[in-house]
Point group: C2
Chain length 309, copies 2
């Protein structure tokens, strides 16, 4: 039996003294200039498609960002949509970036927000966390350490994902309260039974995670809770006492690290602060070299968060 | 300006006298035997990875299924998870199957159930419905005619998808009431304001779709409504009078075509019956040749549905 995700994460957080997650949401039109140069050099003059060239540049960009800011982080969060839009070469770049993250001893969170009926959820579990049996041999999936998932289809839609994750010491982050302005449209709806949709989802997360709480006191089923809704944080922490919170929305979306203390109540690894544009695009605000600006901003955020825990 | 999705669909339904959608959810361990043979023959003895061989077989399987049952259908619904689990070659197979469907004049519904914050939703729109600008030229997306999407993140998360779909005469199917047993866990929750989560989602769908109702009276924002919940069908039809309903769950999941009449109230193209295993695995129940069994079952379901409309 592999070590549980909660314990793996707690060890990683302790080792790196960090709860910062580097978000990688590469936009081909906003890559670091050095990435575009590197990709051109690696192509070596061979004719390749626009998609393949863009995918190479995206991969180089992510590698440069990890080289710059990775030492301050426990994990990378790969925004799968940004790779998917480049088609098959983009999907290959996603795999490549995942390998590069592992070489740097960073955990990989696949931010894919998948959710479907049980038989399809099992296929997504194979794609991201497990492997697929075929008549031609077993095909390995992406091998992410954790996956973000959407619970709108209910508990049975999550069980196949939990099963695969648990068998392999991987984790899930279930959407409970997202960081976007429209989050309230559905998630904040008040229920006739009392509470909100988010609170109902939180109860589901707590129940699913109760089957695997590690020595560090953390479950393998966590929650996505936007840093943009600090008022909801305390209530959701009470509802999910053992769940790791993945906290997006700091920086570009307006969330502040200083407001996130309730997330860390169960311990330093109980909250992961995911910052994408705030780190990768820091150079646009400062005029510094992209790598240097990213390194400094990551160091600053890491320290700010570590003081809270 | 391209023709609206509602009008494109209405024309296709009229042309084919069918509302049947062939669902393709290929499991590499349950492919038609002929697909595995074809894939081996096409490989031609060159050494290729397990993933590439499985992806070839999956692609061949989908092509054979379309050849067998496609003439009775208006569209194919490609279950993206089943391709994703084969990694980059699986993603290439998805693109290939999409091309094969277009050659057969079948509309393509990408069943991906994507949903994310606005900036990421825009990336998914590029991936499935649009294209992505890059410094190396524009990269075309999958080019699906419609995409299934998850509304848990609220209206702003759907707007970027609606915008891209509308510009290009494509459609969306928003999850409103899914076909799985756990659907009730979240979607059927009663709200303090009255109604259920599903009904709230239905109101959102009706509002989003009101911006583009074609000459045939159908909007470009439709809804996924499981054929397994016929009791909900009438209420949801009233709430979404112009939306096309994508109706999964007939066959393997227990839904019956005979119960779906309310879906077709606005007209013959207002409901699409998506059947996957019921058609593709029909040979397992009958002992016939897979293609013949699929053809007969598709013909039967098409006729059954056409009588309702």
């Amino acid at each position: 039996v592999p070590q549980s995700f909660g314990d793996r994460l707690a060890r990683q957080v302790a080792k790196r003294s960090s709860q910062l997650v580097l978000g990688l949401d590469p936009d081909p039109m906003r890559l670091w200039p050095r990435a575009t140069e590197l990709a051109a050099a690696r192509a070596g003059g061979h004719p390749v498609s626009s998609a393949a060239r863009a995918a190479r540049a995206v991969s180089a960009h992510c590698e440069l960002a990890m080289d710059a800011a990775g030492e301050h982080c426990v994990a990378v969060k790969l925004q799968v949509a940004c790779f998917e839009r480049l088609g098959p070469p983009g999907w290959a770049a996603l795999w490549e970036v995942c390998d590069r993250a592992r070489e740097r001893e960073l955990l990989v969170i696949a931010d894919a927000k998948r959710g479907d009926v049980a038989i399809t959820a099992a296929a997504y579990a194979q794609a991201f966390l497990g492997e697929t049996p075929t008549p031609f041999g077993t095909v390995a999936g992406l091998g992410a350490d954790a996956l973000t998932v959407n619970p709108l289809l209910g508990q049975d839609s999550l069980l196949a994902l939990v099963e695969t994750a648990r068998q392999r010491g991987r984790g899930l982050f279930v959407l409970v309260r997202t960081s976007n302005p429209g989050a309230a449209d559905v998630q904040a709806l008040a229920l006739a039974e009392g509470g909100t949709v988010s609170e109902r989802l939180a109860a589901m997360v707590a129940e699913l995670g109760s089957g695997c709480v590690g020595a560090a006191g953390l479950a393998d089923v966590g929650a996505v809770v936007g840093a943009t809704a600090p008022a909801a944080l305390e209530i959701l922490r009470q509802a999910m006492p053992c769940s790791v919170f993945l906290l997006p929305g700091v920086g570009a979306q307006g969330g502040r690290v200083e407001d996130l203390a309730p997330a860390f109540a169960p311990g330093p690894a109980a909250g992961l602060i995911a910052v994408s544009r705030g780190i990768v695009d820091a150079y646009e605000r400062t005029g510094m070299d992209p790598a240097l600006a990213a390194e400094r901003e990551a160091a600053r955020l890491r320290e700010l968060a570590w003081k809270l825990a």
